[in-house]
């Protein structure tokens, strides 16, 4: 069920029987020379839509601008600073609880959002207001992703490429895959500036000249479809698990006592 498509009288029953909401979040940032800036928020929205349809759980609109200052050097990257992002998402979710929502799945497709969603989630749980889970599709099927492509990358690599080939093929520049690979960081582990165990970079451009990582020539829509289905299964399972929990299971644990 998609919140924004409904008129309010048609939402009343949901809030009477359910307390879970699916909130998709992504970014609008460079994804190499071959993928659209929308990549992350398209992926998040697609998973949220798919699983909302499968399960009947409520999906909200997608937060499309995320925390992407590290991609700023590439034309068009849009972002908000971390405090603004956290406060916006926190306010959004707190206000959802007005309607009875007390558990949320952040369907997130941007690595740069993770820590901020966790920080917001902690505030909400520590205040005993809501329990939020941050979920990323590729984390849910790590083995499949590893098997699918020889050289993955954390950003704009074959896995994201395949997903957009599956979801929005018209937005993919297939003719730039080799360029993406050769002008970027085909072997991410070699490119990322880590020195003596410490990251010595802040921006993606310091690790990849064109903002892409991995070997994009490996990607294709079929594999994208398979990964999408497999991760959708994972998300579906997670939502069902979360919905089935008693609120008390989700609250912050009590203080520990050695005596017990």
């Amino acid at each position: 069920m998609y919140l924004a498509d409904e008129a309010w009288p048609d939402l009343e029953a949901y809030f009477e029987s359910e307390t879970l909401a699916i909130v998709p979040l992504g970014s609008t940032e460079q994804h190499g020379p071959h993928l659209p800036l929308a990549t992350d928020h398209l992926i998040a929205e697609a998973f949220a839509t798919e699983v909302a349809e499968r399960t009947g759980y409520l999906r909200t609109p997608t937060v499309t601008i995320g925390v992407s200052p590290h991609h700023r050097q590439f034309p068009g990257t849009a972002w908000v600073d971390p405090p603004a992002f956290r406060d916006y998402v926190e306010s959004f979710v707190r206000n959802l609880t007005y309607h009875g929502i007390d558990r949320v799945v952040f369907v997130n497709a941007h690595g740069g959002n993770v820590q901020h969603l966790r920080e917001v989630g902690r505030r909400l749980r520590d205040d005993d207001v809501a329990y939020a889970i941050e979920w990323m599709w590729d984390e849910s099927i790590p083995d499949l992703v590893d098997e699918a492509f020889a050289r993955n990358g954390p950003h704009a690599g074959p896995k994201e490429t395949a997903l957009i080939q599956h979801l929005r093929p018209e937005l993919v520049h297939d003719d730039r895959f080799a360029e993406a690979r050769d002008g970027g960081a085909p072997n991410p582990e070699e490119s990322v500036r880590v020195r003596n165990g410490a990251a010595t970079f802040y921006d993606a451009v310091e690790n990849s000249d064109n903002g892409a990582f991995g070997d994009q020539t490996d990607a294709n829509a079929e594999t994208g479809a398979e990964l999408f289905d497999a991760a959708s299964d994972q998300l579906e399972e997670l939502c069902e698990w979360l919905a089935a929990r008693d609120w008390d299971e989700l609250r912050a644990p009590e203080r520990v006592s050695r005596e017990g």
Copy 2:
């Protein structure tokens, strides 16, 4: 041109030659028993898309969650609190200026956002960072709107109904128009709680039981199409005017001196 659909190399030329961005903003809030919660952000996005296509100016993704605490009593209304909204939009626009943007049209379709967009716009101009104009479609064609419908309303009335009938007819509950009118505030000026010149309400539900205002039975898709075209002309004209300004024309005026 839609920012999110492009890959970064295809945006470079735009930022070299243009400094204007169109940023659509709306809300996800009750719009009576007959319209989707998305109404405002669908309208904003439609105008932004239309004029971006006509003119070639850059459009960003739509901010879909706005300042709607006054609709909270109706199931599903989503909102962020004003400080979070202002800071999110401000951070978003400030960061756009990294790419050379120095003028922005907020294509806004939610009255509750206006004052906050003006406040953000002032911060940006007073800091000499960017010049932003807040634009609402119905304000641009007030006479047409007045002529089109006998009993308009500030929210979820025939004008918004007609626009959604035109833009997304499948989301309109045509069979609830009479209900919308009769269960709401068909004559807004009679319903709005103003006492001794002062608003004595904070929430829409205090003025309309079902959240709708005006006479929705008057609405139809054809009128919606006409209004859409007429207001699009206005927005196009505004964008062209703004793009043609020298930066110095847009900056805050100097201090006044009587002697001159």
Copy 3:
């Protein structure tokens, strides 16, 4: 009753029997070449004083510096930025509730404060702390004001001029009325920069060279006195109405249910 003139033992009885406070707010900003910068706060204070005396309700000191960045270009305009204004007023009112105040009338005479007082008022009501009403004198007698003068203006026009002529004639430069009109924006609707329905200005000086609007030569103290009395009646009525409400009538409404 004026809070600041009393010693604390003489206030105890009030807080035991009443829960209403009148809080006047204005600005210290240019009001054309003929009126003092104090105009707005003098007007607010005069109404608050008059009605406090008539009714016995408690009046607090006047907040004299408001949100007036849009008048900055004229020598002497003082202002605080919106976040500082909101937080100051909110803190002030929240702390009044320590003494049992749970309803407040903001007697406001500066348009630039309105939205901020409404935002603060919402915070207070949504937190179930206090119910605040923002009141402006000219909004309470719109017909009288319209009839009184041929060409009114939103700022430093004949209505404000007449009021100061009545309240503090020694501060009015009667010899500058023609200058105020001719060097300003005698026909405000023609001067205000609105383009395609959008405000394309942020500062008053963009609409009026000398900061005045309307035809000041129409103003006189007698009309000022009449308007003052008429609006005082309105404010008195509002205070009595507010004081007579049960707290439950003032609290935020419950969530809506279609089934009821």
Copy 4:
């Protein structure tokens, strides 16, 4: 010269020739059973007015609500919390600098404001924006004050009583002086809860049952007048000194070097 009484054209010359502003600040808080809550802001305003008249320097309106949470237990005490106070005053003064003001005398009559005005003053100086001095009348004539009364007190004692007797005798309850003394803390040094060198109180009521300190029966208007004149001389001298400084003398010192 009083800012608020002037029309803007009459202020222009001041800002062309002078850069100093006098900003009076006080509180609205209990001052024992015999003095009005306005005591501090009346005193601040009186000194500012006197010296503005003597010298021609610009005086702004008075900030009447200060940091007085420590008097909250007494009916009517109004206050704002420290962050709101600091931000309001800072914004007010920063915005004054728009007109060319670069030095400010805070004519402050409330001890609870001191540290906050110093904190604001530091921000302004460290940002190289303005130089502000916090001044309290009794600190400027400590010997006179000591000689004038046998038993002074930090709050609502004979010195403040005498000043209000001089400035606004109609607001003084002369018949409650003995009550003020006997029901309060006639010997402050004995009453203030300090234990092992540490303050163990936060509120005035912990040290004085009726909020007064010292022996009020000693006070009279003549002494008040003398103290007022003497301290006015001090303030006048301070303003002249400050106005005569080069800006470079007022800026933050350079880093120290041992070698020199």
Copy 5:
């Protein structure tokens, strides 16, 4: 008992039986040419350690960086701005209350921290969360300190010198005592820039060229040891007093009623 040295199972019993914590705070700032920057935090830590050992009360780690912008001109002075300091200390103490702590002694050895610790303490008490006392060693034995040295100073004077001679003699440059005195402000009351009763300085360097005050040649370790013991007795007494209080004694007083 020192919190940081213990493993968690060994702390459980403390929180079951006690609710007091000792929190040492100081600064890292210039202390003349002869004393280490650590002076204040070493002193605070030494007192906290001594009394925690004597009494068994829990001591936390020391906050070593405080509010010292006024010493910035001297090489090496480290500081945090006041809002950051207040929020850090407030968050630290609020979180201690999770374990049952409801009373705290701030063992503070830096004058610049005092007002901020009081402000934090007020927030905590007004929120009914914890009761915190700010304690400085020299305030607890003012007569002893006065007798010990002919010319004391508020900063880097003989009293602090003697304490570091006692506590960490290897960090004291004994050969620079005369330099400290002669290049600094040997007679503080003559050096501090106060004009017409108002402080006209913000930084220590404006009052002392080398940052030291008083006559350091008077200091010796024996006197330091005596002062340390005497002040430790005071702190011990204060802790025992505080621990013995009922929580109700420590809460904010009720509102005052003249009749009541």
Copy 6:
């Protein structure tokens, strides 16, 4: 060189020739039944001290309280909330730049601080103020750590145990190693609550009953010493590399252009 031990004249030469500072940060939080709460800050301080001595670079005092809400359930865990931590560290480092510091190594020994130090580091670099690197000892020698112990853990495992055995053996409860292992999460990968790729926990106690992870019985001081030396070498190398950089190498990269 340790900042806090020096008197200011002895620091001047450093700031004239060097621009690097080493800032140690840790936490005060449970580390299983066998290690002190100080574990992380002791480790950070030890590395910072060692390398400051080896290289002569300046070390500041240690920030001992970090972001540890996830350990709150265990008695004694102290923490500050993320915004307070970030602002405190940011203010501290920004103020160090007053003295000429423009590069910082955060010697951090607490995983919970990492993202916050990176966020602060970004603010500083994006503002062109300073370049900060976050370094954790175990990340610098991952292979050695893996080889050293069969079952490591992210927290309170054998690697941290061995380090404290080396650095502060008297604080280690050797007799509780088996208890630490058996009552905790001996095989972390099996214990950490991850479901469908998403973390479904917020607190350590949800993954380990006693807060420890890994097999502590493997730890010994000799291995601790070896690891300490090896990681110290890494840190030394990092400091030398950073110190040798031109400032321009450390600044944020320019915008990307495809044309180049």
